[in-house]
Amino acid sequence: MSAVETDEPRVAAAPAEPVPGVAVADDEEEVGAPFLAQIWAVARKDLLLEARSRERLLSMGTFAVLVAVVFAFAVDPSIRARSIAGAMIWVTVLFAGTLGLGRSFALEREAEAITGVLLAPVDRGALFLGKWLANMVIVLAVEALIFPVFALFFTLSFQGSLPALAAVIVLATVGFMALGTLFGAVAANTRLGETLLPILLLPLLSPVVIFACAATQRLLVGRPVSDVVSQLKMLGAFDLVFLFVCAALFGAAVEE
């Protein structure tokens, strides 16, 4: 890499020289692109990479289907799958999701690409939300596969509760990916790398898992939607807290 190439992003990232007499507003305003456009730019980059390689979708999807098959071996046939399917599905989602999150920052790390990303004129909060959005899309796609596969293998029926189930899935994924994106960045920068991610993530995710499993299980046994409203509210509350806290802390996780 020539010196000119390495210097280029630095120039772009350097704050504009304050012109005498012209009041300079916040740092954020100097950066240029509006916050939402920055988020989209980061998410688009990650999604384009994924659309071209499809490595995360394929590995997570294959892993999830295999876990469903392993559950079929592992669970005693006398147990009605319907009574434990909520837990089975969410454990599968957690493991498959964690697998994919590990790759989210591994790519950035492999070619030191993270340096370039950090030098780009993007707010740290926008960088987090962009990464989060891309991870959301990928994991939701995997969940769109996992739920029908489990329904097929274990003869589950979600009919009649599909909108409520969709709400549970989306809300749970919001919190999962908020924590996952933050700790994906943390784990990628340690010696243990992706091995550390589940150790950090699984205990912290307990509120999300508790409410998502409870709501899914209730919908699965045909309880009315009004029975899961309190779980949805709790998921929403934790999502807001996790998104805010994780976006605020993300800068400290990626800086050199």
Binding site: A187, L196, P203, V245
Partner: protein
């Protein structure tokens, strides 16, 4: 005539080396405070032990095993307080990057882990006799165990980071996010129908228990709180010395 540079203090040396600015002030005050708190804690602990064994009446329903409550509850209280300190000092460290805040946070995290371990040992000892099982998968127990794992992760991420400064930042992040779990544990007893005994002191209707039980509990709570702060000061002093050693090692000779 030879030009000589004036001798520089170790702090200046570190700063010249681009290392973190380390305050080389005296730690004698910290040690003295730790000693004073430790003496008070020892006295209170002896008093609490006397109360537990000779003063408080045996609880009618659970019998003598209930006396473990005077170790179990103060340990839990101390652990939660410790993790609160970890979260506050972690957030402060991320904001101000003051190594002192990190030293407090890591000391508190270690003590929190020790006291959570005490909770997780005394709880099953009581449960074996009261519930007939060492462990039940019940929200409060499960979440306390998860809390223990969160702070095991705190030390793993601290040690696994490629440079120590990063490790401190990562640990601070985990400390802040982990603290969100604490109110969940506290509220879990109210939210879910749970086997775990309901709070007897911190409850909306006010305390409800024999006055002798409450007195013993409060003496024990004070004793554990003083013990915690005494150990925290000692450990903090040690952490600061360690930071100095690292800074001096990093400085050029």
């Amino acid at each position: 005539m030879e030009t000589t540079t004036p001798p520089r203090s170790p702090a200046q040396e570190t700063r010249a080396a681009g290392g973190p600015a380390i305050d080389f002030g005296s730690l004698a005050g910290t040690r003295r405070a730790a000693l004073v708190l430790g003496v008070i804690a020892a006295g209170l602990l002896l008093w609490a032990l006397w109360m537990v064994f000779f003063y408080v009446p045996t609880e009618a329903e659970m019998g003598v095993v209930q006396r473990i409550f005077y170790v179990h509850v103060p340990s839990a209280w101390t652990a939660f307080m410790a993790f609160g300190i970890v979260a506050l000092c972690g957030a402060g460290y991320l904001w101000l990057r003051d190594p002192k805040l990190d030293a407090i946070a890591v000391s508190a995290a270690e003590l929190g882990l020790v006291f959570t371990t005490l909770v997780l040992i005394t709880g099953p000892l009581w449960a074996r006799l009261a519930w007939g099982a060492w462990w039940v998968w019940e929200p409060r127990l499960t979440l306390t165990l998860l809390l223990w794992f969160i702070y095991v992760g705190y030390f793993m991420v601290r040690g696994a980071a490629e440079n120590p400064e990063r490790g401190k930042r990562f640990a601070a992040i985990l400390g802040v996010v982990g603290a969100i779990d604490i109110p969940l544990i506290h509220l879990s007893v109210q939210w879910w129908r749970s086997q775990h005994p309901k709070p007897v002191v911190m409850r909306p209707e006010g305390a409800q228990a024999d006055p002798a039980i409450l007195q013993t509990l409060f003496v024990s709570l004070f004793a554990f709180t003083f013990l915690f702060f005494s150990l925290l000061m000692l450990r903090y002093g040690m952490e600061r010395l360690q930071q100095r050693v690292h800074a001096l090692r990093a400085a050029p000779r």
